[in-house]
Amino acid sequence: MKKNKLTIKVLVLGAILVGSVSSCKKDYFDINTDPNYPANADVEQLLPSAEAAIAHVIGNNFQIVGGLYSQYWTQSPASSQYKIYEQYSPAASDFDFPWQIMYSDALFDLKTIDTKATADGRLQYAAISKILTAYSFQVLTDNFGDIPYSQALQGGEGVLSPKYDAQEAVYNGIISTVKAGIALCDENAEVHPGSDDLIFGGDMYLWRKFGNTILLKMYLRLSEVNPTLAQQGISELDVNAAEFLSYEESAKINYISQGGNTNPLFSAIQELGSTQNLVASATTIDYMSDANINDPRMEVLYQPALNGSYVGLPQGLYTASASTPTAYPGLITGGYAADETSALAPVVFLSGSESFFLQSEAAARGWLASADAQLNYEAGIEESFTTLGFTPTDISDYIAQTAIAYPAAGTTQDKIKAIITQKWLSLCGTEGIEAWAEWRRTGYPDFFVVSANSLLGPTIFPARLLYPSAEVTRNGNFPGQKLIYDKVWWDVN
């Protein structure tokens, strides 16, 4: 009997032990809330993130390829980072970063802002988010053609492989998005962003003008493929007396010298060990220093070679001797590593100068009746010079040259050529990707040369970027890779 009693005791003891640990508090397992990340963030934190993300792409990844394909810059013979661009054979994986930043950083944060701001009536945030969404999608579609649009950014709703939309559909979409954004802009709204808006500090009047200018830019991009729509849209702007960005009203983000807060291109160069991969292209240097042009901006847009001269390397000739003297991108572009002033270069979304050239072109085509093509042409040059620190005399001297003066008596094509060539100069080093898009649309400047190390033969230029490899491998609805010389829809010439 004694034995049995002991057995019971032991079993009871065991049961207590087992029971005591298993019956501990109900929330014993409820520890799976991530203590390392916030569960929420508000529009004030999301907006600067989205703006900086767009700026990182247009100011770094696309600034590099845009700078090379707009023939402002070329690969240095002393290094090798961007040889593949000059060979016109970039890898699909080269575009993973910009694509990812645009979609999952910029656009998705913008979508989240729009949802939150619309829900709680902070409509100025919604306005900005719509305008920047349209801007971002235009950058994407201009460079990649057909892109995920109508089904994009819906991973949370289960759309894991968004389908690709035709570029035309994307344009139709973003034109209405930017219009919706403009319509929401209200200078008198009580709730609006402040310093969290890195571009305009919450000035909704400037946002409205920026929206209008983007719309003008979008319509003009369709000038060759759908002039009817372009003309209609621009006339509508005219009828509505839309205001555009003007003097000292560039949409841009300023940077500071603190690590991580510098100009993104400078940041990239610094991370590459401050190797000066980018040097001046002879295409631009030769043009600017031409005896009939005498463009003084050259000395600001470029740093001289170590021997003090302004000399460009023929586009793509990285196979030249490594000791060939070359000029470098200027401090204003963020592209010169040896001087920390480069860190402060702004990233420009759309400049005041560019706005004038857009109006000038629209006027020259007869689509923007209220504007004067020549006045806007000269204003564009003036604003470009002023931004770079030049005096009115410098400007008037420059414009007085025959080769520069507005061809008021010329054909429309002559005028467009002058306007776009000047615009190309004004975008030098700051909006390379836009300059490349305009070259693809209009064919101006008309003196680009095929890269000396092109693998595509002597006549072929790149006409788009490749879809990124992550899209190839991850998107079940991926329509197939394009060739780098396949033109996008609006590029019909």
């Binding site: 989205a50 770094n60 979609y103 950083d105 894991l160 001797s321 491998t473 991850r474």
Partner: protein, 1073 residues
């Protein structure tokens, strides 16, 4: 009835005690049949009583028995027990024989339960301390290489503390842990191998510019403390450990003191001193060309600044080189320095000293060991020091309780070299050095031609594109300190023969502290010809601190019952609780701005905001389990297990999950005639098992979140706060509140056969593992708004065979024994499915070369850009340049999974001599060699000298015609263009096959009679080596394919210029007092 028997025995014992008045004393010696030496510690028992003594150090004994005693029984672990009739003589000497079979019979299984191997229905293999220590490898896991079938061990560099990976029967998890669980004395330990970005916000792959091998924590155990290692190969074997053991388990049993049998009287104490010195050299260097020297653009431009060896052919003429400084320039013959890279490395020296004390009494035992490993690596300035202290003790208390305690403390401090690319990578600098530039001569950094001057901010080193490797060594410091305590405390209660209650509490606490001090500098070249080639680096100081606290408690009740004479059973029920808390604090000076002041390594010195992040991961699990084992007549066995787990990482409604296993074994040889067993089949068993194991998710994947904004553009980044503006973004990974546990099912059959009195033994298994519903972060196209989503999906299957063979072809009376053994493992791995519409999941690599899980392919497949080929496989070239065109998409290039793994070894013993040799091999599989990539680019690789660098037409190349057809190509290509600009990553994926002389040792144990007048009980001296020689595939002249940049992660087969592996050899002395 049973009670009556016990009483009877007691009476007998009492009776025998009373009879002690009439005694006789019997003396004698027990010697071994193997070497005719005395065997200490043999129990000499008066048969049928508890009266016993043990033999002394010389094998001598003296026992007092009553005159009525009839027999003496001699027994000792590992020896055949003998019973001797007592005659008239009071002196009895006997010779005992080894019992090989018995040695293997008992095996440590899950939860430190010792089982007879014959009863197990699943594959296991035990490695003894002696076998493990043959090669004197300082890393425990590496010591298993080639010794166990089915086990795939990869050792990164073979240096002390370097990481290694152990995978049993192929990987089954797509993105989770694929390594076997490591268990020490019944308690699982942490085997983490945090890489640069692990444990923190980012889930990106390793930083290619910061590759330091901090090792994996499984190697913290001192190999000298190990008694045995059991490998439980499948999930069946490990069902009782729960989820973590779905990849099999490595059960390490540490040494303990020997207890003395009751009645022996005096206790015996052991002191063992083990000391070795090991020398290390680089095992395999890449093969360099010795035909062309410094220069650029294919023999045309002779540039003194170049890191290219694309210059003119060597002519031996005297030529100036490097910078011109103060009107002076150095001059040397223009010829290759063949051993340039080899001479950079030093002979590494490692000393290992270990002292162990052990002893015991009737009721207690203890083991105390102190070990020190002090190593200077083959890379100058690198070092590794490890100290271990272990105490194991056990005692039986009077009131049916017994207790044991095991505690191990490890301290490691090391200075480690960097691999990868850029400034900090020593290998990057070495592989880029032109073939005529003397490396060793650049050692003297005070020489203006070699050095960098912090006062004048100038440099005189020849190279404009690479650094002096000695500058890198002196100015880029990676240090690591680890303190770790692993211990467990066990209490058992066993008043009844039919039930035991055991509680085992284990703790594993460590801190792993990593510091990086990378110099800030800004040097301009002195020579104006070098102008524009400034050497600029922003510098860095970082602290990366990991603190891990894990505890594990098992409460187990074991019931034993004999149902009949033939049917016996045990039932174990238990409960397991574990919790793991990992905290990581990472702080680094601003990623872009670096340091403000040079040479001051403090976070205060950050130029721009310091990057700080802390991360806490806490998980809890609780499991209930049962294990039922039944045996019939000692030849039929059945085991059934079941377990229910609850995990904190799963959503509440899915957090509890059940799984079970069944296994059986049939020792058919028991049914054979005694004669047959003696002459032919001494042992034969077949076994089968089926098991299912569940697994939970990583912590914190069930919900969405936000994160502080960092925009990474590949090169260049924007981090918030931007000025004073705060930025947060939606987290790129989409959480999943509906996640379910994942399951692995495994089926295996096998046999163990032993012929001719165990002269030949065979162990064979066939297995099939399938892992389903895996919890993976599915990579999303960024256009979906997220870059990944946590989902349940995917199936990976492994099928394979394992063969272990052991034979003793020679066994002579004189004591010569030659044993041969080998293993063969063939595993076929297939990713069966991933997710609807998705057939690829990236697990590693970089842009242009991905390591992926691809549906229909083996896990770890390589996809890379490669040469474009026509439908017949000919290379398509560009008609204008003759250069190959490249594939636009990434193409399949094989995988890192080997076709098979095999090993072959021998043990020879003769008198006091032992010789061991072990070869192992992996056949097939690929690996990515950045060494090849870099050497091709700079022109130091052999293959860049084909046709003496004259242009030639690519063999069988074709050009594409406008109509899409192909015709033969006649345009020669320029090799410089190919190797510096065109060659795709797919061409750097090369055959990873190898054969290695893994271990070789020769030892001599001094005869005890020589030691009679010394204080030593035994003494042995040996020479040993591990990783001694390698034979690689013909195309691999670039390095040991075991070298790996991804530590023990799933991204294997990826050598991004990681540490060169080393061969080790030395002398070992072991004495006991």
């Amino acid at each position: 009835m049973r009670k009556a028997i016990t009483l009877f025995a007691l009476l007998l014992a009492i009776f025998s005690l009373q009879a002690s008045a009439q005694d006789r004393q019997i003396t004698g010696k027990v010697i071994s049949s193997q070497d005719n030496l005395g065997i200490p510690g043999v129990t000499v028992l008066q048969t049928g009583t508890t009266n016993a003594v043990v033999t002394d150090i010389d094998g001598k004994y003296s026992i007092t028995v009553p005159t009525t005693a009839k027999q003496l029984t001699f027994s000792s672990m590992g020896m055949k027990t003998q019973t001797v009739e007592l005659g008239t003589s009071n002196s009895i000497d006997i010779t005992m024989e080894m019992d090989a079979k018995k040695l293997e019979e008992v095996i440590v299984t899950a939860n430190a339960i010792t089982r007879e191997k014959r009863s197990l229905g699943y594959a296991t293999q035990q490695v003894t301390s002696t076998e493990l220590r043959n090669g004197q490898n300082t890393n425990v896991i590496s010591s298993l290489q080639g010794k166990v079938s089915g086990v795939n061990v990869s050792s990164n560099s073979g240096a002390p503390g370097s990481s290694n990976r152990i995978v049993i029967r192929g990987g089954t998890s797509l993105t989770g842990q694929n390594q076997a669980l490591i268990v020490v004395d019944g308690v699982p330990i942490n085997n983490s191998n945090f890489r640069t970005n692990d444990g923190r916000n980012s889930s990106t792959s390793d930083d290619l510019n910061n590759q330091v091998d901090y090792g994996n924590r499984g190697n913290d155990i001192n190999p000298d403390d190990i008694e045995s290692v059991s490998v439980l190969k499948g999930p069946a074997a490990a069902a009782l450990y729960g989820s973590r053991a779905s990849n099999g388990a490595i059960l390490i049993t540490t040494k303990s003191g020997k207890r003395v049998t009751a009645g022996a009287g005096k206790s015996k104490s052991d002191i063992t001193f083990n000391s070795s010195i090991t020398f290390s050299n680089v095992l395999m260097l890449p093969e360099f060309q010795n035909q062309f020297g410094q220069g650029d653009v294919d023999n045309v431009f002779n540039d003194r600044r170049e890191n290219f060896s694309w210059g003119l052919p060597f002519d031996g003429a005297l030529r100036p080189w490097g910078q011109e400084i103060n009107g002076q320039q150095r001059i040397k013959p223009y010829s290759a320095i063949e051993d340039n890279t080899k001479d950079f490395f030093e002979t590494g020296i490692t000393t290992t000293n270990n002292i162990a004390l052990s002893g015991g009494s009737e009721k207690s035992s203890y083991f105390l060991s102190i070990g020190a490993t002090n190593s200077n690596g083959i890379v100058p300035t690198s070092s590794y020091d490890k100290y271990n202290v272990r105490f194991n003790g056990s005692t039986d208390l009077s009131n049916h309780f017994s207790t044991s305690i095991n505690v191990n403390y490890t301290n490691i401090s090391s200075v480690l070299p960097s691999g990868g690319q850029k400034e900090a990578s020593i290998y990057d600098q070495l592989l880029q050095t032109p073939r005529d530039i003397p490396i060793v001569e650049s050692r003297d950094l005070d020489n203006v031609f070699n050095g960098y001057n912090d006062l004048t901010h100038t440099y005189g080193f020849y190279g404009a594109y690479a650094l002096n490797p000695y500058f890198t060594l002196n100015n880029f410091k990676n240090t690591n300190d680890v303190d770790r305590v692993i211990g467990n405390f066990t209490v058992s209660y066993n008043q009844f023969s039919w039930m035991t209650i055991t509680n085992r509490f284990g703790g594993d606490v460590y801190t792993d502290r990593r510091y990086q001090k990378w110099k800030k500098y800004n040097y301009a070249p002195i020579d104006p010809f070098y102008a524009g080639n400034d050497q600029i680096f922003q510098g860095k100081y970082s602290e990366d601190l990991y603190n891990n606290v894990g505890y594990n408690n098992d409460l187990m009740v074991t019931f034993k019952r004999t149902f009949s004479e033939k049917i016996k059973g045990t039932l174990l029920v238990g409960q397991n609780i574990r919790q793991n808390t990992l905290t990581n604090t990472f702080a680094q000076t601003n990623a872009q701005g670096g340091l403000s002041l040079p040479d001051y390594y403090n976070l205060q010195n950050s130029n721009g905001a310091a990057l700080v992040a802390n991360n806490l991961t806490k998980t809890r699990n609780m499991g209930y389990y049962a294990d039922l084992n039944l045996s019939y007549s000692n030849y039929l066995f059945l085991g059934i297990t079941g377990r229910n787990d609850k995990s904190s990482t799963l959503p509440t409604e899915n957090s509890s999950y059940f799984y079970s296993s069944v296994n059986g074994s049939f020792v058919f040889s028991e049914l054979l005639k005694e004669e047959t067993r003696d002459k032919i089949l001494s042992y034969g068993k077949i076994r089968a098992s089926y098991a299912k194991v569940g697994n939970d998710a990583r912590a914190y994947v069930t919900s969405d979140k936000y994160a502080k904004t960092t925009i990474d553009g590949g090169w260049g980044s924007t981090t918030f706060p931007l000025g004073t503006v705060v930025g947060y973004s939606v987290f790129d990974q989409l959480g999943n509140p509906d996640i379910k546990p994942e399951f692995t099912t495994a089926f295996e059959i096998g046999t163990e056969l032993s012929f001719f009195k165990d002269r030949i033994t065979i162990d064979f298994s066939y297995y099939q593992n399938k892992s389903t519903d895996q919890i993976i972060p599915l990579a999303l196209p960024a256009s979906a708004g997220y870059t990944s989503k946590i989902i349940n999906t995917g199936e990976v299957q492994n099928k394979g065979i394992e063969i272990g063979l052991r034979g003793t072809p020679i066994l002579t009376k004189s004591g010569l024994k030659v044993e041969l053994y080998g293993t063969y493992t063939k595993n076929t791995n297939e990713v069966v499915s991933l997710y609807e519409g998705v057939d690829q999941l990236v697990i590693g690599g970089f842009s242009g070369m991905a390591i992926v899980a691809q549906v229909g392919k083996e896990y770890g497949a390589f996809y890379a850009t490669d040469l474009l080929t026509d439908p017949s496989g000919n290379v398509v070239v560009d008609p204008s340049t003759g250069l190959p065109r490249l594939s636009t998409n990434l193409v399949y290039k094989g995988s890192y999974q080997p076709d098979f793994i095999a090993s072959f070894g021998t043990n020879v013993t003769y008198k006091g001599w032992t010789i061991n040799a072990l070869f192992d091999m992996k056949q097939g599989g690929k690996y990515y060699s950045r060494n090849k990539d870099l050497m091709d680019f700079v022109g130091t690789a052999m293959e860049t000298t084909t046709n003496n660098r004259e242009d030639y037409v690519w063999a069988n190349s074709v050009v594409e015609n406008p109509d899409g057809s192909f015709s033969p190509n006649t345009t020669p290509f320029h090799q410089y263009d190919y190797f510096t600009a065109v060659i795709p990553n797919g061409q750097h994926l090369i055959d990873a096959s190898y054969v290695k002389l893994r271990e070789l040792s020769i030892g001599y144990t001094f005869p005890s009679k020589w030691l009679a007048k010394t204080p030593f009980g035994s003494a042995s001296l040996g020479v040993f080596g591990n990783n001694l020689a390698i034979w690689t595939a013909e195309e691999n002249v670039y390095g040991d394919p075991e070298q790996n940049s991804s530590g023990s992660s799933n991204a294997q087969g990826f050598d991004y210029s990681s540490n060169f592996s080393q061969s080790n050899y030395g002398v070992n002395l072991k004495v006991t007092f």
